[in-house]
Amino acid sequence: MPEKVTMLTVYKLLPQTNCGKCGEVSCMSFAAKLLDRKAAVEECKPLIEEASKYGKQHQQLVKLLAPPVREVVIGVGDRAVKVGGKEVMYRHELTYHNPTALAVDVSDKLEDSEIVERCRKVEEYQVTRMGMPLRLDMVAIRCASDNPERFAQAVALAAKNCSLPMILCSFNPEALRLAVEQKGVFDRRPLLYAATKDNWREVATLALQYKLPLAVFAPNNLPLLKSLSRTLQAMGLRELVLDPGTYTEGHLLGETFNNFTMIRRAAIEQEDEELGYPLLAAPLTVWMAGENPGDPQALAFKEAYMASLFLVRFSDILILHALEPWTLLPLVSLRQNIYTDPRKPVAIEPGLREVGKPDRLSPVFVTTNFALTAYTVLGDLESAGISGYVLVIDTEGLAVEVSVAGGQFTSARVKQVVESSGIEKKVEHRKLILPGKAARLRGDVEDDTHWEVMVGPQDSSQIKDFLSKSWQVPEARPPEGRKT
């Protein structure tokens, strides 16, 4: 294992003047932030501005803090993708940086109009979870035709109609060159895929000429992968992506998994610079296998769970084929989960939230402060056009079911929010609606809060139905002087 960089080592390379220009009170606290990857070296102004004085220290610091897995940028502009930059093997050791980029393949055998349509579909895909838009990142144009001219046309078409970064896939150097030299292609920084034992010299020359990131393909052969990486480094290439081959069948799946794990361990723990690059997995290879040739749904299913395995185990880029909402939803959700910073709870502030224009007779809902639960409930109320109050209780960022079982969702905590939120003054009735999954707390909450408790539906999407069946506008006397 490499030696751990200490705060002191970092501190010694800083100006040690405590000038405060970085926003920290001292160079020591800035050092701590650097170590935690919560600040960038460039935020230390003197280090950059006084190059004659600190130039050498700056370089040393950058080198010291460089992640063992190099960060590679593909594409330009808003949708440019950063991959790699990984610091750790396990997310609990720090956090995983740069979420796995999801690419969808586009065959050059499709009609022009189909190419444009597919590219747009990839570009426009979006779902929102926890207030975050989740999207696809790249298109992988495949030279399926084996015809350089056709490939170049398809790439030009994609470049013109889609702003996403591209992966140009061909083992034929001629096809890659022709594609790169189309108008508006090389300056979009596509990833060239791929250098192999047969074509490496020509493909590497192309990558050098146009300063493009380059993928290396050596299926199930790590000595070859390393040998290619070493050779390409010697030619001056530093923006590489490694593809050790994605086998999805039988014992070969285990071997593929081994390859990914060994490469990442060699990079992070042994600082093997030849393997310290982002990893690419192509689970779309399931579509080649003969197991369910006639059943696209079964193959899409398989591709998705294969992708989930590689997403969790070290892949920085995934190339997929299925463009189905039901296969993409679990993958973008898993990616969001795994790339959440474990140092921060996924929670929102407990307290009172208002939806729509609630009045003194509006319903009062109770939910947890797990961000996803809370956002979902608020979103469902809003889209159903319901005005009401939501009491968000502190369940330590856990969802309803889990926090009821684990004892974070308790009547005491409901009581706490009821009292601190001022809800008693906002409504005239005394009715709380608990989530269906917290039904068993009903009695306790009634005892503790002295509010009547209604048990809501299992899922907040059913709140509208629930209200129309069970919610009668509570009878209450209008307060004195209230105008109607």
């Binding site: 034992k197 010697a234 030619m235 069948e249 361990r265 969790v312």
Partner: protein, 399 residues
């Protein structure tokens, strides 16, 4: 160890100098060439070879592929996960035709290059002692047997290939049927009769009543080495532990996403006289999209601690991935999300694959297709399904 030879001492000094100066001239040293080769070559080579970064690249000069070798990065592990047997045969005091062994891991999950772990993960299907609301894609597979827990169990084993059955005595819930512990045990007996695989038995989740229900269930399944679900810090775990001990079962040690609590509860269970071979752990399984990353990291950390030698975390891991069906993405009918008949099982499978990578040993599942996929995956990882696959031409072969 003997005294260092002169050559070794000289070697160290040279090494120090080399580190300081980067290079060195050797003058006036009498030494044989053979010794020099043996001892100094690695250092000298390193000093002579210019660092890769500093060399100005001359791409045209690179005409041949540079050879490289790769040595798998292997670790040594001090600890090992405890091997736990589920189910007991007639000879062992039970009546199971099939028993399972889980745990015993010596290597991290799916690190096949370090070694193959001795036992494959196993897969149970959840059943209940009364019909209850299940998501439609799940319910449709069990609708015909939900009135009969014995038939339900049989279908899971014979038709869907479950390694185990996870029986939940939900009818004891005071909010449902409020069945007595005694009534509930009848179902335990029925299911034991119906199938010969190991069982896991749980209550209704009622913290006051569950210890009583489980005590009765443990007695009804005396000697069968079931997993009794379970012990928690805030229930009468002593009663549960006592029943597990008395009737020869395994206890599920359940905590809520807190490693220290998990260690504490395991320790308390050991203090009650249970052996490590009688404990399995569930640190709480959240669904994909609903905190799965917590479960993933807790399991990963717990397994790492086990391999480092922490005896309080060396028990096999249980993952109730059926919880995936609590996520609306699994079952809600929304056209924009695609057909729930495939979306639901995929949600469950992805929850399961994620925990497989984290080291989960016992999976509690719902959808038969999800179970089948997981069983096949595990066979792949354990090298039991040989395959040929050529992907070298994937760019063109996909059409």
């Amino acid at each position: 160890m003997g005294e260092d030879s002169e050559v070794q001492i000289l070697g160290r000094k040279l090494h120090e100098l080399l580190e300081k100066l980067g290079e060195i001239e050797i003058e006036g040293v009498e030494i044989t060439a053979e010794e020099l080769t043996l001892i100094f070559q690695p250092t000298l080579t390193a000093a002579v070879r210019p660092p890769v970064e500093a060399a100005a690249p001359k791409p045209e000069a690179v005409t041949q592929l540079m050879e490289a070798s790769f040595t798998p990065p292997i670790h040594q592990y001090q600890g090992q996960v405890v091997e736990v047997q589920l189910g007991a045969t007639k000879a062992e005091g039970g009546s199971r035709g099939k028993v399972l062994k889980v745990g015993g891991e010596k290597y991290p999950p799916l690190y096949g290059f370090e070694g193959l772990n001795p036992h494959r993960p196993v897969f149970a299907i959840d059943i209940f002692d009364m019909p209850l609301t299940l998501a439609k894609p799940v319910r449709q597979h069990y609708e015909d047997v939900m009135d009969d827990p014995g038939e339900w169990a049989k279908k899971c084993v014979e038709e869907f290939g479950a390694d185990m059955v996870d029986l939940n005595l939900v009818s004891t819930d005071p909010g449902l049927k409020d069945a007595s512990p005694r009534e509930a045990t009848k179902v335990v007996e029925e299911v034991l009769q119906a199938v010969d695989v190991p069982l896991m038995i749980g209550g209704s989740g009622n913290k006051q009543k569950d210890p009583l229900v489980l005590e009765a269930a443990a007695e009804a399944a005396h000697g069968e080495r079931c997993i009794i679900n379970g012990a928690m810090l805030d229930i009468d775990y002593k009663r549960v532990a006592e029943a597990v001990k008395k009737h020869g079962h395994v206890v599920l040690s359940f905590t809520s996403m807190d490693i220290n609590n998990q260690k504490k509860l395991n320790r308390l269970l050991l203090d009650e006289g249970l052996t490590p071979e009688q404990i399995v752990m569930d640190p709480t399984t959240a669904a994909l999209g609903y905190g799965l990353e917590y479960t993933f990291s807790f399991m990963e950390r717990m397994r790492q601690a086990a391999l480092k030698g922490d005896p309080e975390l060396q028990m096999p891991l249980v993952g109730p991935v059926s919880n995936a069906w609590g996520a609306r993405e699994a079952w809600l009918k929304i056209e924009d999300w695609g057909p729930r008949e495939v979306r639901g099982p995929l949600w469950e499978v992805v929850t399961a694959t994620t925990l497989l990578s984290a080291g989960c040993d016992i999976f509690l599942m719902s959808h038969p297709a999800a179970l089948l996929v997981m069983k096949q995956l595990v066979e792949c990882f354990w090298g039991e399904r040989k395959a040929e696959q050529n992907i070298e031409n994937w760019i063109t072969a996909l059409g």
